[in-house]
């Protein structure tokens, strides 16, 4: 029973017409869910769960998993075209993706995100197939101190999100960290910064905040500028609508980086795709030969995070299928589905139901190909949206944002929050504060604080627990090195100046 014969078994399951059909249905639905902001894969799968009861169980999980990873493909579309993050894991894609669209390279950005998604998605499945059990065991070594170090490493990425001023970036990040504290404190059940509002007990909705800051803020800024006449340059001809060979070459490292970071972060039950996409963006910029251009529309800045959030889907299935442990909302629903269908998800699932696991793995290879074939032709079509005159486009952006944010919790309060964050986003742009740094603080704040407090509970308040464990020590060391980078660059530029002055 080696991987190859198992995979053949898997393909014999996945290639039956019924399974092929439902795989296609799943990925199409997933793409649609991803494109529409708000409605996420978790809610969609939950809604469709009853329909699967009459299906063959392997067919059912093939279809539902298709929605799960298909949504990661679609998430980039509105991020790139309209600066509206389609899914929370596509927030980082806005940074360079939207700038590319403004420069008339929307097609290239959409195309590269489909290609990166395909490559990383496939690597994710490969990882799931080959190293799932040992990886799951490794992931169990991650306790709160390791998560704390991972989140610190994530926060260190703020260095790469800063524009002109590091101080402004740090300030924005701190505001983000503060926003993350709003709501009920898990450890004491006390409410923090809720101003007596029941609706704030659950914290600030992440989608409402990001859509506000990115989409609404952008619209407000553009409205101000000279009637906003010509914002988007539209490339003519189909050739310019897809990434060039040079683009692909530029993204070689990004594909690799996104795949690996996404897969490993995805396999940790306490992290998530948003963390993975921020990390891979930071790594991409750290190793780039032109880091100063990030944020102005470089193609690697799209490829890395989009790859990461797709590889994450494969990674997230590792603890679910090998241990029966869900890492997030969507995998929790898949777990619920497995139980409902009569399986007992746990460490023995793969061994006792090889056709389920290998059928799913094989279907994910097929699904990723289907998604690529499906998404590439859509690129020129989607890019046409930008031909709309601004008096159509802006109301469209605002409309999609409102509907999307409302649909997450059916909450009008969230729509007001989006409006508030829109104003904040506008002010931040005017004052040149990097919005991405604030979002980074918001994403990580919750986990960071939690992991720190959990660690200190473990050690009875002894801070040494953070540095005397090998994994967390390594991660913290890398974070420290990243934080020193700007200083190192400054010193180098001083030296260069000094040498120049002397000569």
């Amino acid at each position: 029973m080696d991987a190859l014969s198992n995979l053949l078994l898997g393909f014999s399951v996945a290639l039956t017409p019924v399974n092929l059909f439902w795989c296609l249905v799943g990925v199409i639905l997933g793409t649609m869910v991803g494109v529409l902001p708000g409605l996420g894969p978790a809610a969609t799968i939950a809604m469709l769960l009853p329909l699967t009861l009459k299906m063959d169980h392997t067919t059912a999980i093939i279809a539902l998993a298709g929605i799960f990873y298909g949504a990661r493909y679609g998430g980039s579309t509105t991020s790139i075209l309209l600066n509206i993050p389609g899914e929370s894991s596509s927030v980082v894609t806005c940074l360079d993706g939207y700038q590319m669209a403004r420069k008339g390279r929307a097609g290239a950005a959409l195309g590269i995100s489909a290609i990166a998604s395909f490559i990383a998605g496939t690597v994710g499945v490969l990882g799931l197939m080959l190293i799932a059990p040992p990886l799951a065991r490794f992931a169990l070594r991650f306790a709160p101190p390791e998560y704390f170090a991972l989140m610190v490493l994530g926060l260190a990425m703020v260095v790469f999100l800063a524009g002109e001023s590091m101080v402004k970036a740090l300030l924005a990040m701190l505001i983000g960290l503060w926003i993350a504290t709003i709501g009920t404190d898990l450890f004491t059940a006390e409410s923090r910064f809720t101003f007596g509002q029941t609706k704030l007990l659950g914290g600030v909705d992440f989608i409402a905040a990001t859509v506000g800051i990115f989409a609404i803020g952008e619209v407000l800024v553009n409205l101000e500028s000279q009637g906003g006449a010509e914002i988007f340059k539209i490339a003519k001809g189909l050739r310019n609508l897809l990434p060039t060979l040079q683009d692909l070459k530029d993204c070689r490292f990004a594909f690799l980086n996104g795949s690996i970071v996404g897969f490993f972060v995805g396999a940790l039950p306490g992290a998530g795709a948003t963390v993975a996409s921020f990390m891979s963006y930071g790594i991409e910029k750290a190793f780039s030969r032109h880091p100063e251009k990030f944020g102005t529309g470089v193609i690697e800045g799209v490829a890395a995070p989009e790859g990461a959030n797709n590889a994450d889907a494969g990674g997230a299935l590792v603890p679910l299928l090998t241990l029966g442990i869900p890492g997030g909302n969507t995998t929790a629903i898949l777990l619920g589905g497995l139980i409902l269908w009569g399986y007992k998800p746990g460490p023995l699932l793969i061994q006792e139901h090889p056709e389920l696991f290998w059928g799913l793995v094989a279907s994910m290879y097929i699904g990723n190909v289907l998604l690529l074939v499906l998404n590439l032709p859509l690129v020129p079509l989607f890019a046409q949206i930008l031909r709309l005159p601004y008096y159509v486009l802006y109301p469209l952006i605002v409309g999609i944002s409102i509907v999307g944010v409302y649909s997450v919790n059916n909450s009008l309060f969230d729509v007001w929050m989006m409006g508030f964050f829109g104003l904040l986003g506008y002010l931040m742009r005017k004052l040149d504060f990097p919005a991405a740094a604030l979002i980074l603080g918001m994403v990580l704040g919750d986990s960071l604080e939690r992991a720190l407090r959990q660690s200190l509970m473990m050690s009875q308040g002894d801070l040494m627990i953070l540095v005397n464990r090998p994994i967390s020590a390594t991660l913290l060391l890398i974070a420290a090195m990243i934080l020193c980078l700007p200083a190192a660059r400054k010193v180098r530029s001083w030296r260069v100046e000094a040498i120049e002055r002397e000569s």
């Binding site: 978790a42 809610a43 799968i45 939950a46 769960l49 009853p50 009861l53 992931a139 169990l140 070594r141 991650f142 306790a143 709160p144 709501g183 009920t184 898990l186 450890f187 004491t188 059940a189 006390e190 409410s191 809720t194 007596g196 509002q197 029941t198 609706k199 007990l201 659950g202 914290g203 039950p269 306490g270 603890p319 241990l323 029966g324 442990i325 869900p326 890492g327 997030g328 909302n329 969507t330 995998t331 929790a332 629903i333 777990l335 619920g336 139980i339 409902l340 007992k344 998800p345 746990g346 460490p347 023995l348 699932l349 919790n409 059916n410 939690r450 959990q454 509970m457 473990m458 009875q460």
Partner: protein, 327 residues
């Protein structure tokens, strides 16, 4: 005489059937989709439970309208409960409660809606819990663990949910009964709680038998006590905590259905009828068994009393546990 004797009951019968008919025509029957409120996001315990019940009710053809699950997560159960309170007078909205709906308003000042405000309909299940350790840990019984905890106070650790969760309250009660102390670490998701136990970062966890079942079978976990009155059928060789000489009150984890405040009598009767029939179906019994729940069917005044008693019990336990009780 005979005719008369027959006639009177006939007339009464006819009259009665009239009144019944009128009562019939006034009987409540959902005329549109039923909004079903849960306090967790998609994939949370309450969400999955509500979706499963909705599915089974439909499968058994006990309801004519679709149940649409609406996720109102946030603030424990506060957001969902205040949403239900706002729906006063709406007969097509119901909610799925858990024990959190009783404890949360006790500790959260902002959570102004309590179970007293809502209309109880039915309690469906009680979720049993067990105490699990890693399979290779030295603790074979509760006594082993308690002794170890006595030897090195606060050095042992338990993973669990929020401080007001049953996990933590049971810990508080056991600590008090045995004069020991160990640390409780909160994790928001069940996945993290379990992976920290499997990874050996914590030594103990209060877990539902269904969640532990597969880990036990795979040889990853060992159950050292059940937090139930009687031994569980699926874990017949595991003694209850009381059998092991630790006499603590057991906190029930209930799940069931409530309606918005002051729901009309007819609506309550309709749902009671639906669930009466439902509780007798084979698919319900199978669901209860599959998830290793205890059938906790209860309605009417008995259910109101259950909520009242539970509120009093939880207030005491929370105070004892040192939590801030606000009402």
């Amino acid at each position: 005489m005979k005719y008369r004797a027959m006639g009177l009951p006939m007339i009464i019968a006819v009259l009665l059937s009239f009144t019944f008919n009128r009562a019939w025509s006034q009987e409540f029957k959902p005329s549109k989709q039923i909004e079903t409120v849960v306090h967790t996001g998609p994939g949370g315990g309450s969400d999955l439970f509500a979706r499963a019940i909705a599915e089974l009710l439909q499968k058994e053809k006990l309801i004519s309208q679709r149940m649409q699950v609406v996720n109102k997560s946030g603030g424990g159960s506060a957001v969902a409960m205040s949403y239900l309170a706002e729906k006063k007078g709406e007969t097509h909205t119901i909610g799925f409660f858990t024990g959190v709906w009783v404890t949360n308003p006790l500790t959260t000042a902002e959570a102004t809606v309590t179970m007293k405000d809502l209309t109880p309909i039915v309690r469906l299940v009680l979720e049993p819990a067990v105490i699990a350790v890693k399979a290779d840990s030295p603790y074979k019984t509760m006594k082993d663990f308690i002794e170890a905890a006595k030897k090195s106070p606060n050095q042992l650790r338990q993973s669990g949910g929020s401080v007001t969760s049953r996990d933590n309250l049971m810990r508080m009660l056991i600590q008090k009964a045995t004069g020991t102390q160990w640390t409780f670490i909160s994790f928001p998701s069940g996945g993290e709680r379990l992976s920290n136990l499997l990874g050996g970062h914590v030594q103990l966890m209060v877990i539902e038998p269904q969640e532990a079942g597969e880990q036990i079978r795979a040889g990853n976990l060992r159950v050292i006590a059940s937090l139930t009155e009687k031994r569980l059928a699926s874990l017949a060789n595991v003694p209850t905590i009381k059998e092991q000489g630790i006499d603590v009150p057991l906190i029930p984890q209930a799940r069931g259905v409530v309606a918005p405040p002051a729901a009309p009598r007819e609506e309550v009767q309709y749902w009671e009828g639906v669930f009466d029939r439902f509780a007798k179906t084979a698919s319900w019994k199978q669901y209860v068994e599959q998830n290793q729940f205890e059938d906790g069917y209860l309605k009417g005044p008995a259910l109101s009393k259950f909520f009242d008693d539970l509120t009093v019990q939880m207030r005491d336990v929370l105070k004892e546990a040192g939590a801030k009780v606000v009402r």
